[in-house]
Symmetry: C2
Subunit: 537 residues, 2 copies
């Protein structure tokens, strides 16, 4: 955070259009925090403490070390009436945008105080851990908490706050407010939608569990819309942009599992011994393929299996593994031969995970620990499914009907900015954690799936997006929006098709026919044909 | 056959203890055939023709080019009243053993006459082909005709006559006689048992179909009990031996499919296109692994998958593939890891098919045509079976309860001679066709499964034998017989365990514990420990 403050470039009105010294900004922020302002703002520390740790018993949150953009957005939302609190609202109304920025930067840069909440008992912890790691997506359409707040609960960027180490009382009050709709300043209505699915017991468990977790610095999301390269804080224009992604009541969304789909076994229902361990390892690899110690060497980009197969391969209409398992071996026109299930998932490495650029230089072998674990996991998910049924309801992605307007990347760019850039970034690069783990997957560029992956086809991508995105708000996009944004996504350069043998035209003719494929046909803004230049990092 | 006659060593009483010239023997046989004998035997050719082709309309069989031992046995059986025919019985009664041998050798050496029966219509042919290739084992316990009469219908050795190119009327009469029990001179009652399952329509179809097939020289079975090395014909002692394996009415046998077992799809119910072709190829490889053009290079002995998995992997309690498919991946203590189905069948190549000694030097890779075809075939057989069910009724071989007497190879040798040597040969080497195809699999020696295969364990072998052998007379052995003969079989040398790293004792301790395993423990008749010397061809 210290680094960020040094490069902090915002021009403050109170300083006469000169480059400010970092020390001076911090001093100003510190002054507001400690003394308030002359126009009626009370010192922040009277409630949030000198160390910014808040007061657990009073429900005052810890703000020290939170993402400064997040803090600024909250102050701005109190100021504008988009969030309400009897104490905070009048304070924020008295703050100017300049002061909001100063005081947010001050608290964002402050060391994270140690929190000493008692961990809940084991049963409560298990309930919380299940929701944090998995949510209940297939059951209730509830995404995992970790999906947006990061696995450690430290938050991502300006829109997904750190909640690990926050006071339980505050967390509980907020979850109840999201659920009731009395707090509604979340981007896309994502948090409201999630909270609607939570029971009282779950809110209690999550609040208690997160409160006992160590707080940590949030994951930076440098490509996110309100924190674009070179900018650290949010100015008045971005406030407006912020409103675009803010939508009040959440869309109804899909209720997954309603269609009488096959259900994979409960997560905890594992066989004992080495086979159960193999299944668990397969599950871990599936969700974190590019960073898992066993599988990382076969992945040449920032993708994991779970990016395309939601709910860790369980969700119907999101290419669930249980439907794939019983449908292989099968003939595939893609490579004009009968493929075993193992060959099929080796194909995922070759294309969706661009194994050519990996340390191993290619997909894992059939007897590798990676493949064996993924096979064990897939097989277990399909427990009870009838062998040879290649049309289980919910298999693959439901085909999306074409629209009268067709698809258009220009229209798609607008959808993308409003609905997708929040997580995947304005430049499509997604967000990775320091350890290489992907939090929001990259959609194009060198770290995305390559030109041989199924997802590069606009119809496949449109179907996936329409039924699954935005995450937690599945089925909220119109067909037209899905088609357009898929076209926009796939109008960008990405890693070369591994079947390319040096001639773009030949590769295009052989593998990239049809109107749903821009490879070798459409030009980038730089003027070259897609597939002509290597995707840049 | 000409060669055999030249080496024909039997001493004929009519010649004064001198080595006879082959020409003379043939002349004597020819004389009986053409002129009969002075003591009342009519010329054979009056009914069977000068060319030995028989007379179709009269129901007189073709005998030219039949296996001479088979012909001699029939004459001997007519002579002794074990087979009956109004014309043949009095003739045979008037023949001495010497003359039986002479005339049999004469007709055995005769060129096979061309037969010109009209092929039956397509539907009849299909019915016959199905029975010839597959029988209806799982349904009725009916083995395939080709199993004993060879795929081309040309017969094997002294006990399994050539039936291709035989007259339809004769074939039909014989099948009806076997079924009715009015002909009963078959070894072990095998043919009576098979014929009991045949319908009238099937007898008609088989007779018509085989009659239209070209006749061909029978496959020699040099190791069979009555045709041991150096002997061409059967003397008085062997007549007695012949009686041992002859048992009158067939045992009841098992009625497979009665236990409500899972049923694989009907053979003809294949998907269209390349996937159906892959399944068919898998089926072909399964039955003929060591000689099939795709898979032969991975097989280092004379074994095929179908030798241990009867009815081409369909039969319950004979390690059916449909039960295995849904039970893999799984942890195996054998190699202490989770094995995919592909690794499991690679293990079959490594051990049961001794891939180390193959042209490829090891098992086929996971993406080889061989493995993909076998996977497609297995998957298809399991169509509808529930994924993950690792205890389908009929899986594997049923465990065989230990007996009070335990098992004893010496006792087993007696069982073997009476019930097994007929097909597998006195030296356990089985019978191979000229093209390398295995007709009766070798049970020990260089061409059998190696010391790492599951079948080398006496308990596994006993279970397999008890429930499946002799072929077509399943469940006719007592538990004690099965245990003893399994011990006898596995007390012989066979190819080395591929896990052996140079030290017999270490390999024994690591992989060959327990009382059901003779490796590294029991000595051969030559005095070395099993596993110490390479098995000889």
């Amino acid at each position: 955070m210290a680094t960020s403050i040094k490069s902090y470039p915002v021009l403050l009105a109170m300083l006469v259009l000169s480059t400010v010294r970092a020390g001076t900004d911090a001093d100003l922020g510190a002054k507001i925090a400690a003394q308030g302002t002359t126009d009626g703002v009370a010192p922040c520390m009277s409630c949030h403490g000198a160390d910014g740790a808040g007061i657990a018993a009073a429900g005052y949150p810890r703000i020290a070390g939170m993402n400064a953009d997040y803090l600024a957005k909250q102050l701005r939302d109190f100021h504008a009436g988009r969030r309400d609190h009897p104490v905070m609202t009048p304070m924020a109304k008295a703050l100017t945008e300049d002061k909001i920025l100063l005081v947010s930067a001050y608290y964002g840069a402050m060391a994270i105080p140690t929190v000493a909440a008692q961990p809940p008992d084991a049963e409560v912890a298990r309930l919380a851990q299940e929701l944090i790691a998995w949510g209940d997506w297939t059951g209730r359409g509830l995404p995992a908490c970790s999906q947006c707040h990061a696995p450690a609960g430290n938050g991502i960027g300006a829109y997904f706050p750190g909640i690990g180490g926050q006071h339980a009382g505050y967390l509980k009050a907020q979850l109840q407010a999201w659920r009731a709709g009395t707090r509604a300043n979340d981007p896309l209505g994502l948090m409201q939608a999630a909270a609607q699915h939570l029971t009282d017991a779950e809110i209690d468990a999550l609040s208690a569990y997160y409160a006992a977790q160590p707080a940590a610095a949030p994951v930076p999301a440098e490509n996110a819309p309100t924190a674009a390269a070179g900018k650290f804080s949010v100015g008045p224009d971005e406030v407006h942009a912020g409103e675009v992604v803010q939508q009040g009541p959440p869309p109804a969304g899909r209720e997954p599992g309603e269609g009488g789909h096959f259900r994979a076994p409960p997560r905890g229902d594992l066989p004992d011994g080495p086979f159960g361990e193999a299944i668990l390892q397969g599950q871990a690899i599936f969700g974190n393929t590019n960073a898992h110690k066993v599988s990382a060497k076969y992945v040449g980009n920032d993708q994991a299996c779970g990016n395309c197969h939601l709910d860790a391969g369980r969700l119907a209409e999101s290419a669930p593994l249980w439907a794939a398992w019983v449908a292989y071996p099968a003939y595939r026109s893609k490579n004009r031969k009968v493929n075993t299930y193992i060959e099929r998932i080796q194909g995922c490495f070759t294309y969706s995970m661009n194994a050519q650029a990996s340390a191993a230089g290619g997909p894992p072998s059939a007897d590798s620990e990676t493949i064996v674990s993924l096979v064990a996991y897939s097989y277990w998910l399909a427990k009870g499914a009838p062998t040879g049924d290649d049309s289980m309801p919910g298999r693959g992605y439901p085909r999306l009907k074409e629209t009268e307007q067709g698809f258009d990347p220009e229209r798609g760019a607008v959808v993308y900015a409003a609905k997708c850039a929040l997580c995947h970034g304005e430049n499509g690069a997604g967000v990775a954690q320091g350890d290489g783990r992907t939090l929001f997957p990259p959609l194009w560029g060198s770290e995305s799936y390559n030109w041989g992956a199924g997802m590069h086809k606009i119809d496949a991508a449109a179907a996936f997006i329409r039924h699954n995105m935005p995450l937690g708000l599945a089925d909220s996009l119109s067909d037209q929006e899905a088609w357009d944004v898929a076209a926009y996504m796939n109008s960008h350069e990405r890693p070369q098709d591994p079947r390319h043998e040096g001639n773009l035209q030949a590769t295009t003719e052989r593998f990239h026919g049809g109107k749903f494929d821009y490879y070798g046909k459409r030009r980038t803004v730089e003027g070259h044909l897609l597939g002509e230049q290597p995707a840049r990092k």
